[in-house]
């Protein structure tokens, strides 16, 4: 008994384990799917972020004397929403957080933003130290910075122009601890001449954050975008300042005495709270350390608006003397070159003229050479591309302003007599010499082959006069922007159709046609028919009772037919034999009974239960009786009786088929 129970229990357990195995398999696979989903999403986003945000560590100098401080910046490019990293212990240094500085710029619709967290490092021993790499985790993403090596030297070794901090005079006035200056490289410039402007923010041992780009009024002057600010240290009057330098360029739009500035810069000053200053004591100095301030959360910010002095600037007009024809206002120091490809074309095929202006100066007024060609060339609008590379004066700074301007112009020769593209003159005003200069490129000899399909040319030939033309002596008229020309090709509707096509009654559509809709029913009916037929066939194969019942009347009819045949031949004996057999088989099939065992008593009892009317039962009895008489008693029945039997059997079958028995 106990064993049985145990057995039952273990069987149950197996069943349970099977179930739980299945369940856990499902759960596992679901988990796997969801984990992989989450993982892939995380991975995707993190790679996205990692791609978008870049973490960079920089120092303001890599050599520092003992007792001097060093500034380390953590810059995150691509975001402004990044908290400061709690600096890990750096060997050889004491670190202190100064504050964040954010920057945002929009160039050609592309937004660049960054946040820089600034720390000061105070070296505590001599040697070469490796700072970083820093690892920073935020919102589940990990950022890694580069590492920097810094050399700490004895104070004695430092150069003379960098006095130690102890030697610095104490600066009391706030205006001397933080101030703004603005300088212009040249304050006498020609119209359109570009000159750099430098705005510097000087900060001496103050925490400053949220530094905005400076603004200044510039009536009559055009101002470019600011470059990325530079950060360095500078000593003024023996005081070491942290300097942030903003560079831009200006040029005069009209001549006269103009004023630049004053420059305004907004920032927030971080000031220690003055709570514990009420009772000055010996401990004050001790407690007056940033460590404690930091610990006690003692910083406050004050908005500060700094102003520089304004600068007078004189814009000189360009001299009229020796002004070349076609001068369009290019001012600076430029180089010019041009090339033509291909040198051999068919009439009507394009020739590309590439011209590049390189150098320093105001590219806004450098416009492209437009070809003016009488009836010799068709001139298309030139494509202009500006290049921004390192400045030509050797500075490796990436310029925000262009250093070269390239033009690409398509010319189409209109006849085979053209031998060359004439020389191109580029005129500019050299601001260094104060004279006009002309650089000539070309002429470019070309070979024009006669086109095989000259009639095609008519299409591209403009009806309007070409807006530019070569002068009679074959010189370029100069540099000016051509107006876009559009080929007004002849366009019109295509001609009418000759034949009426198939004229038909209006609004006659197939979907409205009744016959068509009727056709749609046929396949469905066909399908239903086949489906029913198929179902019936299947049942016949599998359900013997149904098959027997279904086939019973058919078999009975053929039996009766056979019997009739015998009757016609006068063979009464055979007739009754067949009749009896038919009746037996029919009833057997109909009621799913063994046919051979059908006798009147069996069938009588069976039918009585099914409320079959008495006359049918009487007929049945009569037939069975007649059959028996003929088959076993060999009594001769009259033909009338045989016909009667035949009629009765038909009636019986008919009744049994009609009524659900």
């Amino acid at each position: 008994m106990v064993k049985e129970k145990e057995l039952a229990y273990s069987v149950e357990r197996i069943a349970y384990r099977k179930n739980s195995l299945l369940l856990s398999a499902i759960r596992y696979s679901l988990n796997a799917i969801s984990y992989s989903l989450v993982f892939s999403i995380l991975f995707f986003t993190s790679t996205c972020f990692a791609k978008d945000i870049n973490f960079e560590a920089t120092v303001d100098r890599d050599k520092v004397g003992l007792g001097q401080s060093l500034q380390i910046n953590h810059t995150f490019n691509g975001t402004q929403n990044m908290p400061a990293l709690e600096l890990p212990a750096i060997e050889g240094f004491q670190a202190r957080y100064l504050g964040p500085s954010t920057r945002m710029s929009i160039i050609n619709g592309r937004i660049e933003s960054s946040i820089t967290h600034i720390y000061t490092l105070l070296p505590i021993k001599v040697g070469i130290f490796k700072i970083g790499p820093f690892k920073f985790e935020h919102n589940g993403d990990t950022y890694n910075s580069n590492s920097i090596s810094v050399e700490v030297i004895e104070t004695a070794e430092q150069s003379e122009n960098q006095p130690s901090q102890e030697a610095q005079p104490e600066v009391k006035d706030l205006n001397e601890r933080i101030f703004l200056t603005m300088q212009v490289k040249k304050n006498k410039v020609y119209l359109n001449e570009v000159t750099p402007v430098t705005i510097k923010l000087f900060v001496n041992k103050l925490g400053v954050r949220d530094i905005q780009y400076p603004q200044f009024s510039h009536d009559g002057l055009s101002v470019g975008a600011f470059e990325q600010p530079k950060q360095y240290q500078e000593i003024v009057n023996g005081i070491s300042y942290d300097v942030i330098e903003f560079d831009t360029r200006i040029f005069g739009l009209r001549q006269g005495e103009l004023r630049l500035g004053e420059a305004n810069l907004q920032c927030n000053l971080i000031v220690k709270k003055q709570i514990r200053r009420q009772v000055p004591s010996f401990f004050d100095n001790f407690f007056d350390s940033d460590v404690f301030d930091n610990f006690l959360g003692g910083y406050q910010t004050y908005p500060l608006n700094l102003k520089s002095t304004d600068i007078p600037i004189t814009i000189l007009p360009l001299p009229e003397e020796n002004k070349p024809e076609g001068f369009s206002g290019a001012v600076g120091l430029f180089d010019f070159e041009a090339a033509v490809t291909p040198l051999e074309v068919k009439v009507g095929d394009p020739i590309t003229l590439k011209a590049t202006v390189r150098g320093q100066g105001n590219f806004n007024t450098v416009t492209l050479p437009v070809i003016t060609s009488g009836n010799d060339f068709k001139v298309y609008e030139a494509q202009v591309k500006q290049e921004k590379t390192a400045l030509a004066d050797g500075n490796q700074t990436t310029a925000r302003w262009p250093t070269a301007k390239a033009f690409e112009q398509v010319l189409i020769p209109l006849n085979a007599a053209i031998k060359e593209i004439p020389a191109i003159n580029f005129n500019f005003f050299n601001t260094q010499t104060g004279k006009y200069e002309t650089i000539t490129s070309g002429a470019f000899p070309i070979r024009i082959v006669k086109s095989e399909k000259e009639e095609e040319l008519k299409i591209i030939e403009s009806k309007q006069p070409v807006n530019a033309s070569f002068q009679a002596n074959g010189q370029w008229l100069g540099f000016h922007q051509p107006k876009p020309k559009e080929d007004k090709l002849g366009r019109d509707i295509i001609y009418i159709k000759d034949a009426p096509g198939q004229l038909r009654k209006k609004g006659e559509y197939l979907y409205k046609n009744k016959l068509f809709i009727f056709f749609q029913i046929i396949p469905l009916l066909l399908y239903l028919l086949i489906a029913v037929f198929q179902a019936r066939n299947r049942r016949i194969k599998t359900d013997i009772k149904y098959a027997r019942q279904l086939l019973a009347p058919k078999k009975a009819r053929s039996g009766i037919r056979q019997a009739k045949n015998y009757l016609d031949k006068g063979n009464i004996q055979e007739f009754y034999d067949v009749l009896f057999k038919t009746l037996q088989e029919y009833l057997g099939d109909k009621f799913h009974l063994p046919s051979k065992g059908i006798t009147i008593s069996v069938i009588d009892e069976h039918l009585r239960n099914k409320n079959v009317p008495e006359e049918i039962l009487i007929s049945l009895r009569d037939i069975f009786r007649d059959c028996d008489m003929v088959r076993y008693a060999a009594s001769q029945l009259r033909e009338e009786n045989t016909r009667n039997s035949l009629r009765k059997i038909e009636e019986i079958i008919d009744y049994l088929q009609r009524h659900k028995v």
Partner: protein, 261 residues
Amino acid sequence: MNKLILAKLSAALFIVIASFFSFCGFFAQGATNDTAADKLFYQANAAYKESKYDRAIENYEKLIKSGLESPNLYYNLGNSYFKKGEAGKAIVNYERAKRFIPNDSDLKSNYDYAHSSLNLERKPFGNLFEKLADRLFEGATINFLTIFLSVIYVFVIIAFILSLFFGGLKRLILPLIFILISLFILAAVSLQSKITYFNTGAIVISKEAPIKFEPLESATIYFKLTEGNEVEIIEKAENWYKIKRPDGKIGWINKTDLELL
């Protein structure tokens, strides 16, 4: 026995399909043979060739009023209106021709030209799904789509019948049925939108037509439509149609400013 029945059934199916297609073919060919109508058409063409566009229009219109239509008739009528300077009416007739010959290059070119001459951009009606279906069956006529739907339907039925006989093929047949039904739905949506467009679509034929907030002359103007713009008619009042722009804006327009497709 089963094979015999199958043979019989496939024969029956074949007969049904064959007769169906011959019917469709007959329907498509179902052109009238009216020499008087042809004569009118040629007269109109002759007038067009002589640049007598008014007369050409008159004859073409007469033919249409007699209850006949053909793509070439609408195309030529569109050309005549365009030459006469009524680009809006030209677009109406090009649209009508498009019902029958959407892929005709001449028609496409003239249709586009008429649009560009009015500085119009075509904006399709309907939601995203309808636009997709329309895009898919852009070059199909109403009759073609009707036959296409019917053929898919017959194929689906055949697939069902086959699956009755060959249970083992179900794995192949079910995806097939799924594809066929998806295609069927897309084609049906496209057909539906085409029929709706031809039943309720209209083109602005006035140079500029004010669309008002109410069906009243004094009503405030909601926005304006220029010649050739397509609209959908939502409701008809005595002298006014309530219309919808492709972007969904609804207002009332004077009946005379529009021509139904």
